[in-house]
């Protein structure tokens, strides 16, 4: 019984094969036999570059989100921190370091000074809230070593037990050249300075 079934299947397969071939022969009118020459310039590529600013702790590779977290600052006192501004992308960049008050006592923020030292050289000292410094990191430069100091030189009772929170913004400066890069990056570092008490002279 099983052999008969197999025999029937085989017969059916042969019939289909012959009829299929006959059908193909009867309907084929043209073949793709025209001449064609093809030249291919393969794998043309356009790749883009990158611009990425990193702010890192002076001693490690972790990303910095907070720099100053200072409590009990008194008249004549200062606090010092280090930061590395790092080129993480391919492109070098011109950058701007500026500050902006985020919260806290404005009088205290206005009384503070920010000192900017780069490569162990004093670059500038200015009022904290008006601080702006421009610099650059070339395509072959890896990093800038920066030391920042917050200084309180004013002696006033209204500055005691106050808090000033501010951000240090490190941002690339867009080029004014129309052909300049449109890539942009900005990093924000949070800071808090709180004063203590002292005797007024």
């Amino acid at each position: 019984m099983k052999k008969m079934a197999n025999s029937g299947t085989s017969r059916w397969i042969w019939r289909v094969a012959f009829f299929g071939l006959a059908l193909f022969v009867s309907i084929a009118q043209v073949t793709d036999a025209d001449l064609l020459d093809r030249e291919i310039i393969a794998a043309n590529t356009i790749s883009s570059t990158s611009l990425d600013i990193g702010v890192r702790h002076s001693f490690g590779a972790t990303e910095m989100t907070t720099l100053f977290s200072t409590f009990g600052l008194v008249e004549g006192g200062f606090d010092v921190r280090g930061v590395r501004i790092v080129r993480l992308g391919d492109l070098g960049f011109e950058y701007r370091v500026r500050t902006e008050q985020s919260s806290g006592d404005t009088v205290l923020c206005q009384a503070l000074d920010l000192v900017y030292i780069k490569q162990w050289q004093l670059v500038t000292q200015a009022d904290l809230l008006s601080f702006v410094h421009q610099d650059s990191l070339g395509d072959s430069d890896r990093q800038d070593r920066i030391i920042l100091a917050v200084v309180l030189d004013e002696d006033a009772a209204e500055l005691m037990n106050k808090t000033c929170s501010f951000s240090i913004v490190v941002e690339s400066i867009p080029s004014s050249d129309p052909a300049g890069t449109k890539f942009f990056d900005s990093e924000v570092i949070a800071n808090t300075i709180s004063t203590g008490t002292w005797e007024i002279e």
Partner: protein
């Protein structure tokens, strides 16, 4: 022949070995028949278009104003690297006139890295590094195929280098030029120009790669 094989199969139902031998024999006959019929078609085609049997169709692509044939642009987005042009001379060095068609094909956009500025505007870029059709660079670039012949230079195809545009260049060439004949021995210049589209570009295209093939076809003219 089929009747004979069928008879063999029928008379050897109880002998599978003979049945399989018959099957192999039938397979051979079908294969030989197919090959013979294919050759027959070629004969018919050639006898009807006898003229091209004596000729050749040969396309040659030369590089002009460039040291390398393949276009390789690095550091798009760096100052000054926002557009470029490359020119090729295409010559029909065969003895037959042919229909010329030039197109861009196999456009692939790939994400090569995911820097922080890009991740802020494309938060998925970190997970697709190296995968095809993930980069955004091609979508902000416009490629143009310019034909420069005796009638002057004119753009015949223009589209972005987005992966989805792989068919657009060929379609535009056909719609703008129809059947463009390059006579035997003649040459024309093909210019490929790319530039930033009107929308410009942003951090989303950082560290991207767009790759494509430039295809030159010279096809036999078919008589109506």
């Amino acid at each position: 022949m089929p009747t004979t094989l069928y008879s063999i199969a029928r008379s050897n139902r109880k002998n599978p070995r003979v049945l399989w031998q018959s099957a192999v024999l039938i397979g051979l006959i079908v294969a030989v028949g197919y090959l013979m019929s294919t050759a027959l078609f070629r004969d018919v085609e050639e006898s009807g278009q006898a003229s091209f049997l004596a000729g050749t169709l040969d396309l040659e692509v030369e590089v002009r104003n460039s040291q390398t044939e393949v276009m390789q642009i690095e550091a798009f987005g760096a100052p000054g690297v926002v557009a470029d042009t490359k020119r090729w001379r295409v010559r029909n060095v065969g003895s037959l006139d042919g229909e010329l068609q030039v197109s861009l094909a196999n456009i692939i956009n790939t994400e090569l890295a995911c820097h922080e500025p890009e991740s802020l505007v494309d938060n998925s870029c970190d997970g697709v590094i190296g995968q095809p059709d993930t980069g955004e660079l091609g979508a902000v670039l416009v490629g143009q195929i310019i034909l420069d012949d005796d009638d002057g230079a004119r753009t015949v195809a223009s589209a972005t280098l987005d992966s989805a545009q792989s068919e657009a260049y060929q379609a535009q060439w056909q719609s703008n030029l129809g059947q463009y004949v390059l006579p035997a021995g003649e040459a024309v210049d093909i210019i490929l120009e790319w530039e930033i589209g009107e929308a410009g570009y942003t951090n989303a295209v950082q560290s991207d790669l767009v790759q494509f093939d430039l295809v030159f076809d010279l096809e036999q003219l078919i008589s109506p």
